[in-house]
Structure formats: C-alpha cells, structure tokens
C-alpha cells in the first residue's frame, strides 16, 4: 500500500544531508512551510543551498534557518524585504552567497528541472547585468538568454490538504512556488493542514499530483509567520 504520511516533521526531514540543495516554497508570509523549516533547524543539516523566492522574515522560518548558519547559498529573486534582517546582515559580512534570479526565470527554471528540460531560452534579463555570463541567442529577430533547469535534493512545501498518495491542494496565494518545487525535487516533503482519505480531494481539482510528493506530514494549525513577527518570536524558541 502507498502511504506517504509520516508521523512528524522531525521524521519528515530526517534524511536531509549536509550540502543538500533544498527548495522551500512560499512567497512572503504565504505558503512557507514553517514547521518543516523549524524541524530542519532542530535536525541541523548544514552547508545547504536554498532555493526560495525570499530569504525569510524576522527570526523565524527561513530567516531562522539562515541565522542558524545552516545555509551556504541562497538562490532567490528578492532577498531583502521589509522584514528581512538576517540575510542582509550575513550578506554584507560576506558570510552567505547569493544567486539572484528574476522571479519568472526562477519559477520557469524550477518547472523545467521538474519537467526534464535541461535548458530553455527567455527574454527576461536580456540587456541587463543579470544576463552577464549567459548565452544569448536570437530567435525571430529578438534576443533571449539561455537558462538552466533547476533541480533539488529536497523540497519543503506547505499545502492545505493532502492524501496518502501525496495529492495536494493549496490555499489562495499560498500556492505560489510550491507546486513547481514539488516537481523539481528528488524528495518532496509537504506539510498539510489536513490529511484526508484518497478520493476526498476531487480528482479534477488536485493541483499537485501525488507522483511529485514523497512525504506528507499533517500540521493541523500551522504557525502564522505574520503573527510570530508581531510577537517578535525567534526560533529556536
């Protein structure tokens, strides 16, 4: 029988190894798998390369993972947001690497990685500093840069509902990068606010087919990053 449900976040992340490439879903405070990230902090794997649109807020979630010095390099589109303090500090001290990727290129590189496409061409970044070092090629009189598909060892994602096959649905704009990251990782770990029986999710509305998901942990009342920030919380607590 297929049963991808694991009993705890700690169990879900236990195979993450030092030096792993990890995709972490979420955009701003929406869709970030905070409990999985905190389990990864407890777990302690280090020297990680993290692919995520932002670098976390305050001192919880992704920001706390960075603050705990587990991340060697960030691949993201927008490393500084209003509430991002940890990454900027380490970056200025030269203690963390950054690969800056335009947001749409980042999404497409992840999707390509998941879809078995090693490289593709995009008009984004042509004629800008982010084009530097990349192959530029003309199609139909317009210039495009070549970008590579991006894969990861692990993806950590958050969703609204899951079943034991790993079928997932999301909540509103918390969907964001999560579905494409599921596709691009060798091991995709999802935290779901609710786990249901197979068939309880209408097959017409599944957003992430179970084939892209390897472990599911139920986290019934996930923390709100916003709330944690208001309370000025830090992880580890």
């Amino acid at each position: 029988m297929i049963n991808k449900i694991v009993p705890s976040a700690a169990e879900a992340v236990k195979d993450i190894f030092d030096g792993a490439v990890i995709m972490i879903g979420g955009f701003g405070e929406a869709g970030s798998p905070i409990e999985l990230i905190h389990a990864l902090i407890d777990h302690g794997a280090k020297d990680l390369t993290v692919v995520s649109n932002n670098t976390g807020n305050g001192h919880v979630g992704l920001a706390a993972l960075i603050e705990n010095r587990q991340v060697r390099k960030m691949i993201c589109s927008f490393p500084r947001t209003a509430q991002s303090v940890v990454f900027p500090e380490l970056y200025k001290k030269g203690e963390i690497e950054l690969e800056l990727v335009p947001q749409g290129t980042l999404a497409e590189r992840i999707r390509a990685g998941g879809a078995g496409i090693p490289a593709f061409y995009t008009p984004t970044s042509v004629g800008t500093p982010l084009q530097e070092g990349k192959e530029v090629r003309e199609f139909n009189g317009r210039l495009y840069v070549m970008e590579y598909g991006l894969r990861a060892d692990f993806a950590l994602v958050k969703c609204k509902m899951a079943d034991r096959y790993g079928n997932l649905i999301y909540n509103k704009t918390a969907r964001n990068f999560n579905p494409v990251m599921c596709m691009a990782a060798r091991t995709t770990i999802a935290q779901a606010s609710r786990v249901v029986e197979p068939g309880d999710i209408d097959p017409e509305i599944v957003v992430t087919p179970g084939i892209f998901v390897h472990k599911v942990v139920e986290i019934p009342n996930p923390l709100s990053e916003n709330q944690l920030l208001k309370e000025n919380r830090r992880y580890p607590w």
Binding site: P102, Q103, G104, E108, T124, P129, K172, N176, F177, P179
Partner: protein, 215 residues
C-alpha cells in the same frame, strides 16, 4: 534651481493612467505608487488586475480585521479576490507575463532613458543587496509598460535621462511615462510630451529632464 509647480498629486497621476487603460485590459501593478491605479478605475470600466504571486482578479484591500495571511499581492500586502478570479502557481503566472498575455504593467522607476530603457531595481551601490523580483520578467514580456514616478528625485535630479546610469531592468521597454509634471510617450523619434500639469511650461519641463523632449 527652477521654481516648479508641484503638479499632479500621486492620485491624479494614477487617475490618468486608469483613464488610459482600455476596458477589459489585464494589468499588473508594481509595488508602491503603481498600486494607486487600482483605486482610480472609472465606473463602468472593467480592468483585471494580475499579481505575479498567483492571482488574476485582485480586488480592493480587505476591511480591517478581514486580512488573510494567505491572500496577498506581490508587495506582500493583504488583498481580496473578485468573483471570477482564479489562483495559479508561479510558473503559470509568469507564463502570463512572459507570454505577452498581460496587456499592461505599471511600474515605478529610478531612471528612464529617452529610448525607453528602464532602471528600477538597483541603484548599483557597492555592497547593496541586489533584489529584482519580477520586474525584469514584466518589462520583457508585457507589451505596454507604463512608468509612474515623480519627475525628479527627492533632491531634484532628473529621472528621465539620455542613458540610464543605474543597472537596467530592461532595454527599450517603457512606452509611456506618467509623472507629477507630464505625460510623456517614448517614441522612435524620442520623448514626446502628451500633456503637462497646470503651470508647467515646455521650458520648465525640459529643465528638469535630462533628455530632449518633443512638444
């Protein structure tokens, strides 16, 4: 230093843009000033707002207390979703952008060149943390790019220039510039002034613009 009129308010600039958007347009609004456009759409005109984090059909801001952490826009602000909206993932969202499906995007600017080059993501300061977000995707994919901006910097430096000195977001991508002083079209023959705020003269406008203007 010229004694310039203040010109249009931010809301007035946003209103001009809103009036220029055709009924039924799909529009992406950048963070900050561009967000004002949503509040200025005239009665009877239907515009669908796209936010690149996965929502088509962004509605007005929620009432206080009605905010949802998982319903936000690209500026991470709480929003609502109109009836007939839809959610999708990031790759689909940027397929809309890159594929030319979004009709208009309204962006802020550090600098715009006379050829329509846009610089709005980095001032290139050494040591500054670069952050680009979706701006490069938008200017590369959306057929109509409008800039909304103060005409000069806070210290009075021109933002409309012959060549951008800041790193580009994209070359030759801006179609129109809406400032507190004027509406300027980027054309093959250069910058064409379409309208000026009350009290602004061609001479005054040229004085605070570092690229030649046609009137």
């Amino acid at each position: 230093m010229v004694n310039l009129p203040k010109g249009w308010s931010n809301e007035e600039i946003a209103h001009k843009i809103a009036e220029d958007l055709p009924d039924g347009a799909y529009v992406n609004l950048g963070i900050g000033l561009p967000e004002l456009v949503a509040g200025q759409i005239p009665e009877g005109k239907e515009i669908i707002f796209h936010t690149e984090n996965g929502l088509l059909g962004v509605g007005p801001p929620p009432a206080p207390g009605e905010e949802d952490d998982e319903l936000i826009n690209a500026g991470k602000k709480p929003v609502t979703a109109i009836p007939g909206s839809c959610f999708f993932h990031h790759a689909d969202s940027f397929a809309m952008v890159r594929g030319g499906h979004i009709d208009y995007c309204i962006l802020g600017a550090f600098q715009v060149s006379e050829k329509g080059d846009l610089a709005n993501w980095s001032t290139g300061e050494p040591g500054a943390i670069p952050a680009v977000g979706g701006a490069m995707d938008l200017v590369a994919g959306v057929p109509h790019v409008f800039v909304i901006s103060s005409h000069t910097t806070k210290t009075g430096e021109p933002k409309i220039v012959k060549e951008c000195t800041y790193p580009l977001t994209g070359p030759r991508c801006v179609n129109r510039i809406y400032t507190n002083l004027a509406v300027i079209e980027v054309t093959d023959k250069g910058l064409q002034v379409r309208e000026m705020a009350a009290g602004v003269t061609p001479e005054l406008l040229q004085e605070v613009t570092a690229a030649p203007l046609c009137f």
